[in-house]
């Protein structure tokens, strides 16, 4: 029995094994992403979260604050939509943490880990499914915005660019919530703490109001808040204005978040599972 040859994942021969293992990891991750999406489609709450939440955000912000902030809702729609797009995907990325905490709690991850699949496949699968959710939420929000009369002077490329950028940012941010889920463990607590992180980040930004209207100390925070950079970049891409500088800043911020929280989240995940 000891003569049976088996692959040893602990000591792979670099070239040969990588050729074999990478597709398996991707295949299993894709299967697990399918699971995540099937779950969303079958669950009314989750589906409403993805589809209705962006619509409600947009309606509320435009019609509640629009008149007061910009004088009329049409002008405010032009200003706020790019920011609400950012906010929508940030909320969706927090859902990644809640979902993972839930999976760890129910023991379904134990099942996955008792199967001959890569240990990272469940994590990659979850994030893969969430990527689809981010894009779906973003697309629904944009489509609804156009219905309300939003005009994208940046054209198709601008729209795709903005959607791509906010998705990149959400994917970066999801590592923060993944790390959080590994530490906090309780899905409801992840949601609560997640909201504590999200609310100051999104409202303490230029998503809803121009920075110039804020008190000085808050301006300082808004200026360094990466959410402002992403909102600026999305605004530039969708409605015109500076693109290069805020986009660079947004991508840089995303890179920093991934560099810090990616390894942290993976380490915590490995320790936890």
């Amino acid at each position: 029995m000891t003569t049976v040859m088996t692959p040893r994942p602990t000591a792979p021969t670099p070239v040969a094994s990588r050729r074999v293992r990478v597709p398996a990891v991707l295949r299993h991750s894709a299967t697990l992403a399918w699971r995540g999406l099937t779950k969303t489609v079958h669950s009314t709450e989750a589906l409403l979260d993805v589809t209705l939440q962006p619509v409600i955000f947009l309606l509320l912000f435009v019609y509640v604050f629009g008149g007061a902030i910009s004088g009329d809702t049409g002008t405010y729609l032009q200003y706020a939509l790019p920011g609400v797009l950012v906010q929508t995907v940030i909320f969706a990325s927090a859902g990644t943490g809640t979902g993972l905490a839930d999976d760890l709690k129910t023991g379904i991850f134990d099942r996955f880990r008792s199967l001959p699949i890569s240990r990272t496949a469940p994590l990659l699968g979850a994030i893969g499914a969430d990527l689809v959710r981010y894009v779906t939420s973003g697309v629904i929000m944009l489509a609804f915005g156009f219905l309300l009369g939003f005009r994208a002077s940046g054209g198709v490329l601008g729209v795709l660019g903005a959607l791509g950028l906010v998705t990149v940012f959400a994917c970066a941010l999801c590592w923060v919530f993944t790390a959080l889920a590994m530490v906090v463990r309780e899905p409801r607590s992840v949601q609560g703490i997640g909201a504590l992180v999200i609310l100051p980040l999104t409202f303490g930004s230029n998503v809803f109001v121009p920075t110039a209207t804020l008190p000085g100390w808050l301006q300082a925070f808004v200026e360094v808040n990466p959410v402002s950079k992403v909102a600026d970049a999305a605004r530039g891409l969708l409605t015109g204005g500076a693109v290069a500088a805020p986009t660079t800043a947004a991508l840089l911020a995303s890179a920093v978040v991934v560099t810090v929280f990616g390894p942290l989240a993976v380490t915590l995940y490995r320790k936890r599972t």
Partner: protein
């Protein structure tokens, strides 16, 4: 190598708790080993190490089908099935989707995965519920699905961690029947349980754990014999007759005095089987009618009480 599962000197510590403290055990191919013990005795930790979920162990070795669980986890995972204590199925998916998911993760092609799922759905009597979300399932259905999911890959070794906890007797019997059928088909099963009856019903061999240590091992019959031979049980029809019954059988069961419990039953160690006949004759001669009279092997509850000094269902304060 005869043993499909072989564990030597296994130890695992969590913080200040020594959850498993030098466990040895071996499971022969196609047999059911019952790992018996109260909460916190180290059963689940042992199973989690064997199923490659917890590693590395602090001390000792564990091999499943000849593969070291720490050095070759992938080889172990390819051939085991695991059913957890808390029915690890996805509540938001349907029964069929749960089965297909695992089949796909085991690299079965799409069509094959669907076929395997349909096969298991039928075998476990879940046909009507297969398309429904698991959230709507009863506890028994969920447990059957959990067992079905762990069988998707036709595992050679099956770990069942308290498979019937919380099930009503009917569903418990269904799970038992399935476990027996699997063992008959050659699957090697390691089962943890707190239920002595379950261990007695299913296990070919037993390992009794307490505080992370093996306190007894052997066949259920051998364990019972170790604790003591057959016992005479007499329950008089009229409770008032109990002192007279005690007096009439006392010298038969000499040297130990008969014990009388709160329900009005007399029990005493029976030095040899002939005691039963003679007790019957004497009770008849003394016109003492009985409701129950018989020789019984000690129950596993008796075994546990004798081994640990406390009943199996009275765990100590610490829970690991």
């Amino acid at each position: 190598m005869n043993s499909v599962i072989q564990v030597e000197g296994l130890g695992k510590t969590f913080g200040a708790t020594r959850a498993v403290d030098g466990v040895d055990l071996a499971v022969r191919r196609g047999t059911v080993l019952g790992l018996l013990g109260p909460n916190g005795s180290g059963k689940t930790t042992t199973v989690r190490v064997l199923a490659t979920l917890l590693r590395p162990a602090d001390t000792g070795h564990a091999r499943v089908l000849g593969h070291d669980v720490v050095a070759e986890p992938a080889a172990v995972r390819a051939r085991i099935g695991l059913t957890g204590q808390y029915a690890a199925v996805d509540e938001a998916l349907s029964g069929t989707d749960n089965l297909v998911l695992v089949a796909r993760l085991l690299d079965l092609p799409h069509r094959e995965a669907r076929r395997r799922a349909a096969e298991l759905v039928e075998r476990f009597g879940l046909t009507d519920a297969a398309g429904r979300r698991v959230r709507t399932y009863s506890g028994g259905m969920r447990r059957r699905l959990d067992l079905a999911v762990s069988l998707v890959g036709r595992p050679d070794v099956l770990f069942l961690d308290e498979p019937t906890t919380g099930l009503d007797p009917r569903h418990r019997n269904e799970v038992w029947d399935e476990v027996r059928a699997l063992a008959t088909d050659g699957t090697t099963v390691l089962l943890t349980t707190q239920y002595l009856e379950e261990a007695e019903q299913l296990a070919d061999d037993l390992v009794v754990l307490d505080h992370g240590r093996v306190i007894a091992a052997g066949t259920p019959a051998a364990l019972k014999a170790e604790v003591g031979g057959q016992r005479l049980h007499v329950r008089p029809l009229r409770p008032a007759d109990l002192p007279a019954v005690v007096a009439s059988v006392a010298d038969l069961v000499f040297p130990d005095a008969p014990a009388v419990d709160a329900t009005g039953e007399l029990t005493a160690a029976a030095p040899e089987p002939g005691v039963l006949l003679r007790a019957a004759e004497r009770l008849d001669a003394a016109a003492l009618p009985v409701a129950e009279l018989g020789l019984r092997l000690p129950s596993l509850d008796d075994v546990f009480l004798t081994l640990t000094g406390r009943p199996a269902d009275a765990p100590e304060e610490e829970a690991a």
